[in-house]
Symmetry: D2
């Protein structure tokens, strides 16, 4: 039996093809895909055919922000049944290495992650997935919201890595999709002050709409530092979360932090090396923390969406039918001035 | 120069007296008191003349939930000036013991705490206080809200001790004033499920109003456990916060927790000893944590009130002029069925 | 093909029987067993046929403190090869529940644990085990030492749960095998003061030999508390680790702790409920932590044995050939006055 | 009344002068100085007259690694008496800022630190010090050892910041005095593998003597990384502690760490900015932590010295009478090939 899938042959060559229908094995579920969001990484593969060392060397199915409906359950699956609506966590760790046993399965060296070469993603009519990484959605959460749990997970993990909690004073540099979901998570976690640095007008507007207590549109480091001091009784911020991938943003964040503050790195830098004032780490006793994808965030995200504490719907600025994936990719690639999240639906 | 103060001579004997006007020393501020909330401990001293080993042996001024206006600053005080509106953190630690240097000044054995014998509290026209424990209130926070920061601080500290954060599933046993501020803090911290056990109707209603996702009115331990399992994908709750001081509530909480869960003790038990299933601590690898007052909560609370993320106003159910303190005490003592927080104002 | 195994038919009826030779599947190893230590739980099943809710309802092979030699590796096993000497971690978690993914695989509800009904243990010539829970031993660590990694793991986990580190002041109540491995782990972790409460002479002597800074032989709670105060600049201890399963020990530990101290529960109590002063948790802001088996301790233990930082050999006070398991059990059961660890060897 | 002190007038001009005898105020002690170690920072001020923004603008008394004997106690001091032998923690924080109340008094912006301009140090016959920062030494710890508690404190704090504990695999880059005390602290904390990168022969020898499991003398980054992989089952190290102040060491440490590992910065870099691969922080989810001096380490160090778990005596390679401070400074400055710690004694 054959199903349709959107296959990327090489940069910009993306079309609907027939592929084999997958079958669920023991502990797996077959999912009829219903919504897939487009991530910056999808666009990178679509446009450049690579991200760093990850290279598209053979045709690949993109897409990893996924929700759908259970079509069939494999042997031994008890917590899901046909018809259940689910969100799919796209990384499948080995389960037996030091990292997996140590509670950091997101750092598993053997992880298979949707739409990261050589593994296929979910722009297809059906996909098979381990049941333990399929999470049931309540009826009142839409499939599009379910697909948003993937990027939201990055924001939740960044918030946790940054120790953001009640009354935290937080600086977020960059308000693209990831900066914005981080803002949502920080707000939900009780941050008292959330200042966002962002120059693009549509993103700055969205940041205010989603709960930023202040949006700083300048990129002048001195002015940003002065502003953050003013907002923090002159101590500096508890936590900065770098979502822009710009070296000067990281350097500014170091200055804007209080002694003992934490700088969380989420954005990837195009520069292989960025000059950093390492003595500031010592003299201010700073903590730097990385964010690599996420772990144990799906149940959290579902509870937060279900209780209304986080609303991701405003982030979805345009929708395409899934068989127009190429148009959706082009939109995500070329219309950043107007779009936050491009969603595709089945 | 003389000022007026409400002095408790012995149980139920509480009247307005003239006392000496205090003068601020170096590092201190003189505060014109504007609002003082009545705490259960005040009522205990008023009614019984003691709480455990703390005994009213000479006349005492009660009151420790305090806000006011700076009337004068002592030498060396730079961050406050005459006319500033402030909330007062009522415990003054020694600053030099192992606990103070270790970041747990609330556990300082030498702490002087308002209205805990032999130290006077704030039911007076003026009080002197260390400037470092007087926190400036923004204009749009009322004095009554400022006084509420003290009980809210207990809720914030309980939330922190319980590790409550994004998506936490929390059980709160008891919805008196402390249970309710804990609920407010848990909600602000992003808890995904907050179930409250409370039998009194006015408190249960208030819990729903403030954001409980569920209020359980039964005291049947089996039913509570079954309900919490249902609300937590059958795992049990991440955190339980015991605010009732009832042994069966603590025992039920142990059962309602997931493996690896945390039980936070806030309420004081009238029984000297409570029978506990200690093997559950081992077999479920539970964590128990105590909450003794709070630390470093005032700036947090002010940020949360200022940004609107927490609203304490619904908790203030009745107000008295401060020179009617005795009436206010009687109200707090006798009208628990209708009142949550009794506030006095100058 | 048949192998020999020691099968417990019912209490006290334990004999060598022939059983089927097991075969390793994918990801598994076949291990020729070389040494198995006898644990208190083995003795309980041997004598009473049960431990709490775990009941020997059909013949069972006991033994879970195991080392051996790789006889064959299953498909996909790359980090071990025939002839490697290994220690076996006896609990096999499901790998996919909330606990497993959250870094607490020891709390997995679906764990299969050697010699815990209905699962067989390792008193046999050969056993099959998942390769990820077989850890390679350096040449200079003997098989008997390798078998000791299992009980040592409890001590390591207790030390971690108690936050014991450089300069910690620790009280250990009870110096049976588990109390003693906890002592070894606390010493290796840099505890500055380690006081042990133990009345039996052979255990007290061993505690001194292994590095206790003080052994307290009285069970008078007041005297123990006075002594611990004296040893801690009058503050009380940072951490107490309860290894005796005696209610009065737990109650005394609460009193001996400093404000903010941590009480770790390792021993199981015969009483279903123990009366506890819960207000002490609140007023001293204590932390209680449970220890259920261990997690991620085998590589740690191997590094510590290999570098000589921990020496478990003194704990092995008597050795039996493995086919004299019944004699070994009787010795462990009846000769507690002279024995710490009874070891069997192939 | 006059006493003698060693006063630095300007670089290289250091002589014994008469200064006023200090008097202890309330909460203070007068200490007859008995031993002071020479730190690299003393040498910097002696040779260059400055360290970064800290400039010797008027005559200063150097020295901050200090022990002595109580000569007199000020009002209210109860835990010390005349004749007590003490080690002095040299930084005196304000006690009332956000950092002090938050448990990070080492980050207090108002700290007064011995021998950091404009504050005098302890190369004098007598000094006055707050009693809360004078720690009683047991009789069997010498004054020279007592003076070593100051640098040892940096090692203890680095070990804590790095989360080094039972079985940790640690890389230390640089084995100068601070690298070596860090090694001592890591060993005492139970690190299973401690590899030290150091090229100078006397320091490499000392590292082996003090417990390094391996000393790597090459500075070839690829070789260091290969070696650390070999020592860590190919995962990489848990923690790296950078004590050299060399950019390439920091860059190599990033590569040598496992995913999820921690890099602790202790050494100060001469370069204002060091090029760093920030994407490694994200992709390996690394943690960076700074070490600025230390906090709450003196009681820990005293327990560890008293119990013999750490021995600092081998580090003291040469001693001078205190009035030969200039010779001692010249020795520390010029004889790095032979000396680790230069100690002066009264």
């Amino acid at each position: 039996m054959k199903i349709k899938a959107a296959v990327l042959e090489k940069p910009h060559v993306l079309g609907i093809k027939e592929v084999d229908m997958p079958r669920p094995g023991a502990g797996e579920v077959l999912v009829k895909v219903k919504a897939v969001g487009i991530c910056g990484s999808d666009v990178h593969y679509y446009v450049d055919g690579r991200i760093g060392d990850y290279i598209v060397e053979k045709p690949i199915i993109l897409g990893h922000e996924t929700s759908g409906e259970i079509a069939e359950v494999g042997a031994g699956v008890t917590h899901l049944k046909k018809g259940d609506r689910v969100a799919l966590e796209p990384g499948i760790p080995c389960g037996s290495c030091q990292q997996c046993k140590g509670g950091t399965y997101n750092l598993c060296a053997e992880v298979r992650f949707h739409a990261t070469p050589p593994y296929d993603g979910t722009f297809a009519e059906y996909v098979v997935h381990p049941a333990q990484f399929a999470f049931k959605l309540p009826e009142h959460i839409s499939f599009a919201e379910g697909a948003m749990i993937e990027p939201l997970s990055v924001g939740i993990h960044a918030t946790r890595q940054g120790g953001v909690g009640l009354g935290s004073r937080v600086l977020i540099t960059g308000a693209g999709p990831i900066g914005l979901v981080t803002l949502l998570a920080c707000k939900a976690a009780g941050a008292g002050v959330i200042a966002v640095v962002e120059g693009k007008q549509n993103r700055a507007d969205m940041a205010y709409k989603l709960g930023a207590t202040q949006v700083i549109s300048t990129f002048d480091s001195d002015k940003i530092v002065a502003e953050t001091k003013r907002l923090s009784d002159n101590y500096g911020f508890d936590t900065a979360i770098e979502c822009s991938g710009a070296g000067p943003a990281a350097q500014t964040a170091v200055r804007a932090l209080k002694r003992g503050g934490t700088l969380v790195f989420v954005g990837l830098f195009s520069a292989l090396e960025v000059p950093m004032d390492l003595n500031a780490i010592t003299q201010k006793e700073l903590t730097f923390k990385g964010v690599f994808r996420y772990k144990n965030t799906y149940p959290t995200a579902i509870d937060l969406l279900a209780s209304g504490r986080i609303d991701v719907k405003p982030l979805i600025t345009v929708r395409f039918p899934w068989d127009k994936v190429k148009d959706a990719m082009d939109c995500a690639h070329k219309d950043a001035a107007n779009q936050i999240k491009v969603m595709t639906e089945w």
